[in-house]
């Protein structure tokens, strides 16, 4: 059992023990290493001012992704290479992104600038020729209040057109990789007397730890836990880090079912679904900013049990299955049976979500997923819905409808489904289905929208579904 964190920052190896392991990455960078180019603004992963690049082994080199360092706990970074804005220069020259930001006047007050420089570098690291949409989507995790984004996007285009130095060239991965692989094979645990964490590498170890510490806070991507800690909503003293548990990794596709480990990130899931279930990939792509998609996991989204969780309408209409593991062994639960109430799940004490099995809709089925929010991206949903219809010879053979943000949990509109079965697939049916669905729910009003608005969105979904199908057919 290793009892120190080992990771790299801008090519330098660092070891950390004790209380500092529980710091956020941003606080460690700013206060311990005095790398103050990383700014903390919202402390909840909305603004991207704290963006850093995190490199982890991917084959024979490191793959770098942009993360919000304010909501990463330091122990999550074991075995990773963190590159900050200070680490992007080569020699005494600015990087191409930095130079382009200066030349295109992409910085006014400058507070968001380091975060943008990092996010743009991360985008170019993973996409050689980004188009306009890639740039705009790629920078949704970074807020700028001064420029209107115009000169920043111009800087991105300029940088993309110039030769640049890759992070692999700046920081050859060879020496780091060897140590990272070794670190990956070691379980890790630490206590500072008040708080403790365990970072096991097998599921069995994780289940044992949870049995001993039922109060442990589970950490995978920390996109939610990090926010709750920063906002002082929780102050956990025991953490179970799931980042290194091998059994929670991986995504397989056997042609009928996509099976993914609970720790699969949104970015990884997007890659796996892009061709197979483009409707879900589209939802994943507006799930959050790149920073959030790199960190957040499907398991976290499911277990968090929010009625507005973006993934759930899809999982509900496909009747995905959840594999749960605990001291008594492994069991499987249909996701539609998993939620008992607001933020309440079927998980028993000591159980973990390990895998998710998603039946891929076949060609005869029509799937549509909806998310309504104020902004286009990185936004909390006001309303979500999933509709899956199997239509044969103009008649609805099978119907599944899931609605989010209208009840304490995501719900299946069972009466609407029953109403739809056997009916002709036409405008009148779908309009009536909308009325039926609206009668089946009683949403609340909150800062994101009123109950009447949500009822109307529910009605609209069915007609929209119909018109979209008609348009696609034409």
């Amino acid at each position: 059992m290793r009892e120190q964190l080992v990771f790299f920052v801008n090519g330098r190896r660092h070891t950390v023990v004790g209380g500092d392991c529980f710091l956020s990455l941003s606080e460690f960078l700013r206060e311990r290493l005095r790398l103050t180019g990383t700014k903390v603004v919202c402390a909840e992963g909305d603004c991207g001012s704290c963006s850093v690049l995190v490199g982890r082994p991917d084959g024979d080199k490191l793959a770098y992704r942009t993360f919000d360092s304010c909501i990463q706990l330091l122990f999550q970074l074991d075995g990773a290479h963190v590159v900050t804005v200070e680490g992007l220069r080569h020699g005494d020259e600015l990087s191409r992104v930095q130079a382009a930001m200066v030349e295109q006047h992409g910085s006014q007050c400058g507070y968001c600038t380091p975060g943008f420089v990092v996010a743009m570098t991360g985008l170019l690291e993973n996409c050689a020729r980004p188009d306009e949409n890639d740039w705009r989507c790629g920078l949704t995790g970074n807020l700028c209040r001064c420029t209107g984004y115009v000169p920043i996007l111009a800087a991105g285009r300029q940088a993309a057109g110039q030769p640049g130095t890759s992070l692999e060239a700046l920081y050859p991965s060879g020496p780091m990789l060897d140590e990272m692989r070794r670190l990956r094979g070691e379980s890790l645990a630490m206590s500072d007397g008040r708080r403790q964490f365990a970072s096991p590498i097998t599921l069995a170890e994780a289940i044992d730890f949870l049995a001993e510490h039922p109060q442990a806070k589970l950490v995978a991507g920390a996109t939610d836990v990090g926010v709750q800690i920063n906002k002082r909503m929780i102050a956990p003293e025991v953490f179970l880090d799931l980042n290194r548990v091998a059994e929670l990794e991986g995504i397989d596709d056997d042609g009928q079912t996509i099976t993914c480990g609970a720790r699969a990130s949104w970015a990884a899931l997007h890659a796996a679904c892009a061709d197979r279930v483009p409707e879900f990939a589209a939802i994943v792509s507006i799930f959050g900013s790149p920073q959030i998609r790199h960190a957040g996991t499907i398991g976290g989204n499911i277990v968090n049990a929010s009625p507005i969780a973006d993934s759930l309408p899809f999982l509900f209409v496909t009747e995905s299955e959840l594999e749960l593991a605990g001291p008594q062994g492994t069991r499987t639960v249909n996701v539609t049976d998993f939620y008992h109430g607001y933020r309440q799940t079927d998980l028993r004490p000591g159980e973990l979500l390990t895998r998710v099995r998603i039946p891929v809709p076949d060609r005869g089925q029509h799937l549509a997923l909806y998310k309504v929010s104020r902004r286009r991206d990185l936004d909390i949903a006001t309303f979500t819905a999933g509709v899956l219809l199997h239509v044969a010879a103009g008649k609805i053979v099978e119907a599944r409808v899931a609605l989010g943000a209208v009840a304490p949990t995501v719900v299946r509109a069972r009466r609407t489904e029953a109403f739809l079965r056997g009916k002709p697939f036409d405008e009148a049916t779908m309009q009536a289905a909308g009325e039926q669905a609206a009668a089946e729910i009683s949403p609340i009003s909150d800062v994101r929208g009123g109950a009447d608005f949500r009822l109307q969105l529910t009605r609209n979904v069915f007609l929209r579904f119909f018109h979209e199908r008609m348009q696609a057919a034409a």
């Binding site: 603004v41 910085s107 600038t113």
Partner: protein, 751 residues
């Protein structure tokens, strides 16, 4: 003052686009902002804030917090001097110091959720945070009011028992939430309405919105044992921060030095002090530097939003499209203390047009929100939303093109505003002509659920006091010291004016923003004044340097100084010439260094007009608005650095789009802000806005040697009105409420 005519129209530096002097520092993360500062022995301060929107503070017990290991100081308003009835002129107007002080730390009553109640300093931010939970405050909650019309009712919860409505110089006889009533009138309004062929009257409301600067407020103070106080802070005005802090602590102003750090945005919200006096008091108590950084929720809940408003605008016109009369009734909330931005709102509501007769009534209304602060053209955006919406409706009903309608009535040289002043040469008509000629206006908009809107806006742009000094270096460069904190690139736009004056390159000027002991008095970076006024100071510094350099050349050439003239970076007589750099290298032989200095105080506004065009598409099912195309047109007088002018126009337009579509303070039933985070207070991302096209119009300002007008604020004025008109053409619904968020627009579309 120098006349524009006496200077060459052909510029070498002005109008070019050099990279900013602080560019490398910003992109490498090396620029030092307030939060990046670390001093030896430094401790960390935190503020305890009221959980109630309105409550009597019956007692505060800090004894347990003071005993927590690591805590080094605790303070409440009881430690501060009694400032009852003291008034101070803080540069942008008179301020009641008792109110300013009570906003910094509550005095007897908490007036909004998040109101500062007590503060601690400790060896780490985490210990300070823990100490806050040990402070016992006994509150007696009172009913709260957060909507301006509710606050004006006779039976509304009263915020202050010592505020009486001031109206036309008279004070009312009983306390009220209406702190002030403003009234302007021009001509015979009733008569003029009676003579109108068409009158449109509409009511409008807008929600409070926040400036949303990315950098949270931060201050570090060191109260030295000799009594000298040094403050490192993020402020739009180091001199006003110095004065406010000195007044609140009742120490001589010379005992305070304010060191401005790099500032991560302000937009008007970083003029009032919040943390500075508290950090100073904590430092005085513990003898160590105290650093205080706000979290994002503190920024939302306890610093200045811009007012929510209720407005009624009535405008009359003749059949042939001449405006006859206007009437506006504006109520803006001031938040918890008097002195909101109703004044400029009243002055701007009809400022774009020639009204033969008009009347404006405005009300400064107290309610249980944070004290409102300036936000980019403070008060003008709300008023323009109302006025421009009515103007568009009039044009439509009269069957006149909206640009032609505006052209028929546009304010121009000689137009008298309702509040009195007469415009000098202004460029409003030119922005309208440029809009008419733009590719955007000339391209048809096609497609279902789409609409195009146009609206105009005005902001004064102020002058005020600026100082600067510059030292000529032997290598022919010049080091420029200025007091204007640089938010949008003014180091460079000011340096360029000195470079132009001296005939050297922008890169040969090294600008530096220095502390309050190192430069003459300079007013805030606000009012779109820096490139104008501090630029004017730099111009005068340049003239001072040239005058001295001519004398030095005369010494070298043994002639009369009057025989030496300076042209385009050269000094010459009939038969001799020398470059600026050559002479700079010889200064030591002619009596030593040359330092130029200037202080200026230009009076009057520089008058910025803008016109914006926007195309939108509205989803008929969800009422979500997508902005398809946007063009901002503005008179800059003379664009010193065109990229920076465009940057102001684009940034302002996007803030205006956010204000129009999504941004709002949402209050719960107890008057508490329900969305105090970026997660629920939605500012636009790169994906929410299209490319913002810009057209700069240049109608030189006669009151500046290079013709500069302020440009920073006008761009936020037209967007909400332009967006509302575009939404109308897309949906048939005239939205009279901001924001036009999906739930609100959807509800309006159902009617």
């Amino acid at each position: 003052m120098a006349q524009a005519e006496s200077h060459p129209r052909k510029y070498k530096v002005i109008g070019t686009r050099p990279v900013r002097h602080d560019g490398a520092d910003k992109v490498t993360g090396r620029a030092i902002y307030g939060a990046d500062l670390r001093l030896n022995g430094m401790v960390h301060g935190k503020i305890l804030r009221s959980p109630h929107a309105h409550a009597v503070i019956k007692s505060i017990d800090t004894s347990a917090a003071a005993k927590l290991p690591g805590v080094v100081a605790v303070t409440t308003s009881a430690d501060f001097p009694d400032l009852q009835d003291k008034i101070a002129d803080l540069g942008e107007g008179a301020v009641n110091l008792a109110h300013l002080g009570a906003n910094v730390l509550a005095h007897g009553k908490a007036l909004y959720k998040g109101h500062a109640v007590a503060a601690v300093a400790a060896t780490s931010p985490h210990v300070a945070q823990e100490a806050l939970s040990l402070i016992k405050v006994e509150y007696e909650p009172l009913p709260a009011v957060t909507w301006v019309l509710d606050a004006m009712k006779d039976d509304a919860p009263l915020l202050h028992d010592d505020v009486y409505t001031k109206s036309m110089g008279k004070k009312a006889d009983k306390p009220s939430n209406i702190a002030a009533h403003i009234h302007f009138e021009k001509g015979d309004v009733e008569d003029a309405f009676a003579g109108s062929d068409l009158v449109v009257e509409r009511e409008f409301k807008t929600a409070s919105v926040h400036q949303g600067y990315i950098e949270p407020h931060v201050s570090t103070a060191l109260w030295n044992q000799d009594g000298h106080l040094t403050i490192w802070t993020s402020t739009q005005g180091s001199f006003t921060a110095r004065q406010q802090t000195a007044e609140l602590l009742q120490v001589p102003i010379s005992q305070v030095t304010v060191v401005p750090c790099e500032i991560g945005g302000g937009f008007g919200g970083k003029i009032a002090v919040y943390l500075e006096p508290v950090a100073a008091m904590l430092s005085r108590k513990c003898g160590r530097p105290v650093k205080m950084v706000m979290s994002r929720d503190e920024v939302f809940e306890a610093t200045g939003p811009t007012p929510g408003s209720s407005m009624r605008v009535k405008i009359g016109a003749t059949k042939d499209g001449k405006l006859t009369a206007g009437e506006a009734w504006l109520a803006y909330d001031a938040g918890a203390f008097p002195g909101g931005v109703i004044g400029p709102g009243c002055m701007c509501v009809f400022s774009c047009y020639e009204f033969p007769a008009a009347r404006v009534d405005g009300y400064d209304v107290l309610d249980n929100k944070p004290k409102t602060q300036a936000y980019r053209a403070p008060g003008a955006t709300q008023a323009a939303f109302a006025c421009e919406s009515v103007i568009d409706e009039l044009a439509e009903k009269l069957g006149i093109d909206p640009i032609e309608f505006r052209l028929k009535n546009a304010a121009k040289e000689g137009t008298r505003r309702v509040d009195g002043p007469v415009y000098p040469r202004v460029g409003f008509i030119e922005t309208l002509e440029a809009a008419k000629a733009s590719d955007h206006w000339k391209s048809p908009l096609e497609g279902k659920n789409r609409g195009r809107g146009i609206a105009s806006g005005y902001w004064f742009n102020i002058g005020l006091k600026s100082s600067a000094a510059a030292n000529v270096n032997p290598d022919g460069t010049v080091s420029l010291l200025e007091g204007s904190t640089d938010i949008g690139g003014t180091r460079t736009s000011v340096a360029m004016q000195l470079a132009e004056t001296l005939g050297i390159t922008a890169e040969a000027v090294h600008p530096k923003v220095v502390d309050t002991d190192s430069v003459g008095y300079t007013d805030v970076t606000g009012g779109s004044r820096v490139t104008f006024a501090t630029g004017l100071a730099a111009y005068e510094v340049g003239r001072d340097i040239l005058r001295q350099m001519c004398e030095r050349a005369a010494i070298l050439w043994e002639c009369d100084a009057a025989e030496v003239e300076s042209v385009d970076g050269e000094f010459k007589t009939k038969d001799k010439r020398m470059t600026f750099a050559e002479l700079a290298g010889k200064l030591s032989q002619t009596g030593g260094p040359v330092v130029g200095r200037a202080t200026v105080n230009p009076e009057g506004p520089t008058n910025g007009f803008g016109t914006h065009i926007v195309d939108v598409e509205v989803d008929p099912d969800t009422a979500k608005v997508t902005v398809l195309r946007y063009t901002a047109i503005q008179d800059a007088g003379k664009a010193i650095h065109p990229s920076y002018v465009e940057g102001q126009m684009q940034g302002g337009a996007v803030q205006g789009i956010g204000w129009a579509l999504n941004e709002e303070y949402v209050f719960d039933g107890e008057g508490r802000m329900a969305n105090a985070s970026y997660l629920d207070y939605r500012m636009p991302t790169a994906l929410d806005v299209p490319h913002i096209d810009t057209i700069i119009v240049e109608v030189p300002n006669p009151a500046h040697p290079y013709g500069v007008r302020g440009v920073g604020e006008t761009p936020i004025v037209p967007p909400p009105a332009a967006m509302a008109v575009a939404v109308y053409h897309a949906t048939g619904v005239r939205m009279q409420e901001l924001p036009m968020s999906p739930p609100k627009l959807w509800a309006a579309m159902q009617k």
